[in-house]
């Protein structure tokens, strides 16, 4: 207590420039160099040439344009609010049984998705996303390589994924979807026979839940014909940091906040893969009465 008071007195007396030195002297044994974070960079990551704050562009005209865009978005949001829930009239919300969320007809639609692979951790898989023939579908293709990067700490490798960007409203606020009307995911895909994993990330309130994911499998046929795959939301199991949890619970869709949908391939088989997606939608399957597929007994 007295030491802290003395330190604070010392720092306030000498001014701001010495506060850093005081802090460093306190933490001296824990620092090997002047940076307060580790400088280790994973093998696949790009070296940081410029710090993120140095990329800020202080142009006045650009900021005015940005403000105008955000204000127009806000105006549109207010008009949507006056129309009804989700920007549609209430009758549409009450009666709709299907809804198309993402369809791939232009480059703009492709920009709503982000692709990634194990290259980030030093692996050798490659993944690409482009528009298919006649701009009628998205083609996610690449090569899976399960060779483990030699950095001493990675044990497994070989995954490629495509995730949707979460929707942002005006002023970069999170947009919340209300998917409670629907109970299944409806995908029109043409795969190559490889199994994929469909992941749903609902942006949780607590930061320690940020690795939580709801997943299920999608087995593709590989034929020349398009497949229509229905995955009920009751089948999605809960996992955290890749580990399936014992306490399972269904994904609540009423405030599917900041939701991202992702497709991952990681079936431990080296070789090329390909997935064409026509559209992704939601379906209210009234024949599907299941609430949740796992842990159906009463726990408390």
């Amino acid at each position: 207590m007295a030491l802290t008071v003395m330190l604070l007195n010392g720092s306030s007396f000498h001014g701001g420039c010495c506060r850093h030195k005081v802090l460093l002297s306190l933490l001296g044994p824990f620092l090997s160099n002047s940076k307060l974070y580790s400088s280790y960079r994973r093998p696949g990551a790009e070296p940081e040439k410029k710090l993120s704050w140095q990329n800020a562009d202080f142009s006045f005209k650009k900021s005015i344009d940005h403000l105008k865009t955000q204000l127009s978005l806000l105006k549109k949001e207010t008009q949507d609010y006056l129309l009804g829930p989700g920007g549609h009239p209430l009758s549409q919300h009450l009666l709709e049984q299907t809804r198309v969320l993402w369809q791939f007809r232009s480059q703009e639609d492709l920009n709503k998705w982000v692709i990634s692979s194990d290259e980030e951790i030093g692996g050798k898989s490659k993944v690409y996303l482009k528009l298919g023939r006649n701009n009628q579908a998205a083609l996610l293709y690449g090569t899976l390589n399960t060779e483990v990067p030699r950095d001493g700490e990675t044990k497994y490798s070989g995954y490629c994924s495509m995730r949707s960007r979460p929707a942002v409203g005006s002023f970069n606020r999170k947009k919340y979807y209300d998917w409670s009307n629907f109970n299944s995911l409806y995908l029109r895909v043409r795969g190559d026979g490889r199994p994929w994993m469909v992941n749903i990330y609902t942006d949780p309130y607590f930061s320690h839940q940020k690795d939580d994911l709801y997943s299920y499998f999608m087995f593709t046929r590989g034929g020349p014909y398009w497949e229509e795959i229905k995955i009920p939301f009751s089948k999605f199991f809960f996992s955290s940091r890749g580990r399936v949890q014992d306490n399972q619970h269904p994904v609540w869709l009423d405030k599917a906040s900041f939701l991202t949908l992702g497709f991952t391939i990681g079936d431990k088989v080296d070789g090329p893969f390909q997935l064409e997606i026509d559209f992704i939608g939601l379906l209210k399957d009234r024949a599907h009465r299941e609430e949740f597929a796992y842990e159906a007994y009463d726990k408390n």
């Binding site: 009804g84 269904p250 609540w252 009423d254 405030k255 408390n300």
Partner: protein, 280 residues
């Protein structure tokens, strides 16, 4: 839930409520409020879903802050005036802080943000408890301190609550959130009249509690968590749907129903007190 655990939580709720409503000393009132807060937390987080835990956390933080403010204002009042009696709250700062604290407990705007999310994260029966039983102790405190509350703050919070409760409830599709905003709106009505005629506040509260309890119980029997379920429930339970219609109209305050009575009397009282713009 384990029957013994359920018994402990329910009896703690009753104990907390009884302690608060029968207390003369601020410390006892605070004790009752704290017991209530702690007892209802396991009921909110019963399903162990992350959203239910989130609701319980939000509820706890808000209620704990409000309890702190209650204790702080009663302590400052005791410091200045030497009085711990609930009805003898005289120091102006204490009155201001107490008004803010009780409105935080109740969920009056601008302290209402937690209420819809907490109600959405809990089950329908817990929502019923949160809307009616948990409002009872703070309402009693409001009644007992009615002469010493800050009128400006209370009137502005009342108007804001009624407005926000009405407008935010318009585009909702989840029934629990709709009922949360209706609760905020009704609390605004209750807060508007407390200075002039506290008995009308109590009348409004009792009628509101009965109507809300009926709505929650009907929704619970229909398992209607969202509007489309309500839309299709008439085929299975036509009489219950008809009764729900009547109860909801009563909650809205439409003339032939009982729910119109408190609104009418409040408007009449406000007009008598030269508060016609507020009445509008």
């Amino acid at each position: 839930m384990n029957p013994q655990a359920k018994l402990i939580f329910t009896s703690s709720l009753l104990l907390g409520t009884t302690i608060t409503i029968s207390s003369n000393h601020w410390i006892m009132a605070w004790t009752g409020l704290e017991i209530n807060t702690l007892a209802v937390l396991p009921l909110i987080s019963k399903s162990h879903h992350p959203r239910a835990i989130e609701a319980a956390t939000k509820y706890f933080l808000v209620q704990a802050t409000a309890s702190i403010l209650v204790l702080f204002s009663s302590m400052t009042n005791a410091w200045y005036t030497g009085q711990w009696d609930i009805t003898q709250l005289t120091h102006p700062t204490s009155c201001l802080i107490m008004t803010a604290a009780i409105s935080m407990k109740l969920g009056l705007a601008p302290f209402h943000f937690w209420f819809p999310e907490v109600l959405q994260g809990s089950s329908l029966i817990t929502g019923l408890l949160l809307s009616t039983a948990m409002k009872f102790p703070p309402m009693t405190l409001l009644y007992m301190t009615s002469q010493s509350l800050n009128p400006t703050l209370l009137a502005s919070m009342a108007i804001l609550s009624v407005a926000i409760g009405g407008w935010m409830g318009l585009n909702q599709t989840q029934t629990r959130k709709i009922l949360a905003f209706s609760s905020i709106s009704h609390l605004g009505w209750m807060a508007a009249i407390i200075i002039y005629n506290p008995k009308l506040t109590l009348l409004n509260f009792y009628l509101y509690a009965m109507m809300t309890a009926s709505v929650f119980m009907i929704l619970n029997s229909m398992k209607a968590l969202k509007l489309p379920t309500l839309m299709t429930s008439w085929t299975k339970m036509p009489s219950l749907s008809a009764i729900l219609l009547l109860v909801l109209l009563s909650l809205a305050g439409l003339p032939p129903m009982t729910g119109f009575l408190p609104k009418w009397l409040i408007i009449q009282e406000l007009t008598k007190q030269d508060m016609a713009p507020t009445a509008t």
